[in-house]
Each structure stands twice: as C-alpha cells, then as structure tokens.
Amino acid sequence: MKVLSLDTSTLMSTCAIIEDGNLLGEYSLNRDMSHSERLVPMIKSMLAELDVKLEDIDLYTVAIGPGSFTGLRIGAATIKGFAHVFNKPVVGVSTIEGLAYNMPYNEIVVPLLDARRNRVFTGIYSWEKEELTSIEKPFVEDIDILLEKLESYPSICFTGDGAKIYREKISERFGDRARFAKLGQEYCRAVSIAELGVKKYKNGDFQDFYSLVPEYLRMSQAERQKEERAEKNGN
C-alpha cells in the first residue's frame, strides 16, 4: 500500500511517500509563507523522481493541526484535491502527535508549537510497548502555566519550534530533567504523519475528501470573552 503524506502546519513544507513499512522518499523545505507556491511542485517532483504515479497512491495522510491557520488550510485543501482524483481515503493526523512520534523514547514527550502571545500548542505523550500513548490530547496553553503543570514529571523530552523559542525558560525550571530534540526530530515530518496515519487507517479511523477538516484549536469566542472579563477585573 502506497501512502502519500503532507504536513504544512508550520513553516516546514514536508511531503513523503511510504510503502508497506518502508520510506520511499521525503521532501522538506523550511521557508516562510511558501506552502502555496512550493507544496504541489514538491509533491510533483517527488512523485516523478520516485517513478510513482498518482493512481498508485492508495491512501492520503495529512497533519490537520493545530498550527498555522493558512498552512493547515493549504495542507487540507491539497490532500483533498489529490484524494478526490481517484476517490481514495484520507486520514487526518494531529500535528502534535506527529511531533511526539519523532521521539520514541521511554520518557514523557511534550511537543511545543508556538501559538504566539506566549502560548503554545502542546500535548503530553509517553510510550508504552512501542505505542505512542497520549496522556493529554492536544491543547493550547500559556507557556508558564504549562511548565508549572509539567512539574510532576521526573524527566521530559521537549520538541517542536516552541522548544527552541522557550529553551532557556525550560532549562531554568527543569535543569537536567529537561531534554531537547535534535534537528532531525524537532521539525514536523511527513513520514511520521504517514506512519501514524496508516495505524489509524488500519483501525478503521479514516475519512473521505469531503469530511476531513483541520483542527485549529483556537479559543472560542466565549472563552475569549471570559478571558477579557477576567483581564478587566484585574485577575
């Protein structure tokens, strides 16, 4: 089974093709605001260099967020377009879970993606018998509140662009208890989305190109109003 996978949740445009447990190819470029121009040519070039035709693809997987609003829309629209051509199934995979999947170590893994205004998109994961398990599913949180919350863990692996941005703050608080992803693991990888996507597909958890929607994880208007009121009251 050939799987074509995309992740455009961050500045990284990444696409990959895997087949029956093998990685055929992965193509990633880290450029600002360029998904709309680069992504489809990247996929085209990867397919051509691998001699894979679009009709050979059996399954499409895509990172559905959270992440950059524009990036997520481009990723979802692109995968829907490809899946539509030969009416193939689509699997949406959490961007945060994808990042955690890059770090298969026996520790708590906490991906951090910059959500701006001192917030991060995050989640809490661990590994049990070769399986990534979520302790807390993706959520958006103020970085200081999140770090406070993580105090109960003896050691933590951080990854994602937020781990870079807040590295000093994290090190100050956790010292040797904190470990950080290396370059090969800290970015979104389409191959991780593909592998997680296949697992979901085998569990019957897939969608068609109509029903797939991104997961932006932003605050609802009600939540924002509540926060604004709290600010006004000086809390």
């Binding site: 605001m33 950059s68 609003f69 701006r116 932006y216 932003r218 208007q221 924002r224």
Partner: protein, 154 residues
C-alpha cells in the same frame, strides 16, 4: 506606550515625503497601525509608505479584499479592518500568520483590533488640521521600531 510625537503636514507633497521617510525606516516584522476618520488620508499615506518600502505596484485600498500583498524590499501586507465585524473574522483570515510573519504589516483602522496585535508596534494617528490640506500626525507606539522612527523624525 511611549511619548507621542506630533507633526504637522501641509499638503500632498509633504504627506508623500513623510510617508516615504516612514517607509524607509521600517523593517521586517514591523507593524504599522494607521488610525484616523474616513478621508483623513490613511490610504494616501500608505501609498507613500509603500514607495519608501520599494513597492512598485500601485497600492489600492484593501477595504473589500481586507488584505493586499505587495513585494518591496520586503513583503508588504496592507490591511483595512474597517469592515471586520467580529474578531473571529480575523482568525478566519489567518491574520496571525501575517502579524507574526516576516513582512511589514500596514493596518488601517488598527484601533478596531488593538487587542490582537503584537505589543511592539508603531501607531500613526492622522487627523485633519485647520487648513484644507493640513494633517496632524501623531506617532505613538512601543518597541525598537517606534523608538527608531521617533529618533529619526525628531
């Protein structure tokens, strides 16, 4: 916010000069807010700022498109948020990707969305003076770019 700087501008030629000067002082990640009532000259000012940023394209009001993108020395994103009805509209347009991106953002009617803007920004309030083509320009803001601009204009 910092100490306001108030400048009186007389006529279109001076507006153009002032805009070009401001444009030449902006750099990537800067956010420039333009406030002032209808007809105060926000779009006219933006055109001159665009010249200072090396934008060759003809800059038009993005009142209906909400965002226009230009290529100058840096990417230039020109917003007009007058028509926005709810803050949610902003999220639905992915504004954060621009506000925290690597271009220069020029935002007309920025006061309407103040809460969502990054703290570091330059604010220009334009109001009509006593003479027909006279404009009072008040510069306020916070951060390095604001300080740089005030220093250059003083």
């Amino acid at each position: 916010m910092g100490d306001d700087l108030i400048i009186k501008i007389d006529g279109l030629e001076e507006t153009k000069k002032f805009g070009i000067k401001i444009g030449s002082l902006l750099s990537p990640k800067d956010i420039l807010c333009l406030n002032g009532e209808l007809g105060a000259g926000k779009t006219t000012m933006t055109k001159s700022i665009g010249l200072g940023l090396g934008v060759d394209d003809y800059i038009t009001s993005p009142t209906f498109a909400l965002i226009n993108e230009y290529e100058g020395k840096y990417p230039v994103y020109h917003f007009d948020v007058y028509r926005l009805e709810a803050v949610d509209d902003l999220f639905d347009l992915g504004f954060d990707d621009y506000f925290f991106g690597n271009g220069v953002c020029i935002i007309e009617w920025a006061e309407k969305i103040e809460k969502l803007l990054p703290e570091e920004r330059v604010i220009i309030n334009i109001s009509k003076g006593q003479k027909e083509n006279e404009r009072i320009v008040e510069i306020d803001g916070f951060g390095k770019s604001y300080e740089r601009i005030v220093k250059e204009l003083k």
